[in-house]
């Protein structure tokens, strides 16, 4: 099982801030996971494929080519805004 977290506006689209998913073993990158989530949930689709949504694998920011093999926690984040 892999924990998937959604932050900001992304959590609203997902309808939840986290979900646990059994990811197919052929999903090997962040990009592949985005597509898989988009196909699975039409509501998510609008945002999850947007380059404005950053990803983190096991609490480290990463690009779309990053591996998710063996990852325990993957996060999708709408634009950050502190301060």
């Amino acid at each position: 099982m892999t924990r998937i977290l959604f932050f900001g506006r992304m959590s609203e689209a997902a309808g939840c801030s986290e979900l646990d998913a059994e990811l197919p073993s052929e999903l090997r990158t962040v990009a592949a996971l985005r597509s898989w989530l988009a196909d699975r949930d039409a509501a998510l689709k609008q945002l999850i494929l947007s380059p404005g949504i950053r990803a983190a694998v096991d609490r480290g920011f990463c690009g779309d080519d990053a591996s998710i093999v063996g990852a325990q926690e993957i996060a999708f984040m709408s634009p950050l805004s502190g301060g």
Partner: protein
């Protein structure tokens, strides 16, 4: 250097006073900034802000940004305190303070760290008020300032 995430209201005055007291005799300049939750926005009256963060990632990322700034400006010390949770008008959201030998470094450090926090720190803000609820995301001006910092 100190980075703190506060999940309850904090006193910006006393945290700043404590930081100022910790300074050494070579520190001639203390610049600081406090951002408060305003009671109005362009959407109308503000009732509250909900500030989310990503525990484990947020503190690490702020620490990384803070170290970048310390090195770039040769600071003596740097303090960052950031609120999370439900914030009501007049409560401080963020406190940034920098100590340096001379003023130019401290001014630049505080302004640049605020620019980073607006676009690179893992926080998400949701405003609730007379205009309903909405997510607050970086403005074009925030993005332009961040872009000017490079890296």
């Amino acid at each position: 250097m100190r980075v703190a995430i506060a999940d309850k209201p904090f006193s910006a005055d006393s945290m700043l006073a404590q930081f100022a007291d910790s300074r050494t005799g070579a520190a001639g300049a203390l610049a600081s900034f406090v951002g408060y939750c305003r009671d109005v926005s362009d959407a109308g009256d503000v009732h509250q802000l909900q500030l989310d963060h990503y525990p484990g990632l947020t503190e690490a990322e702020i620490t990384r940004l803070a170290n970048t700034i310390i090195e770039r400006h040769g600071l003596i010390d740097l303090l960052v305190v950031h609120r999370v949770g439900v914030v009501t008008p007049n409560e401080p959201i963020v406190l940034v303070a920098a100590l340096s030998s001379h003023r130019a470094q401290a001014f630049a450090a505080v302004a640049e760290l605020m620019d980073y926090l607006k676009t690179d720190a893992p926080f998400w803000k949701r405003e609730a008020g007379s205009g309903g609820e909405r997510w607050i995301e970086p403005t074009d001006a925030d993005r332009a300032r961040r872009a000017a910092l490079g890296e």
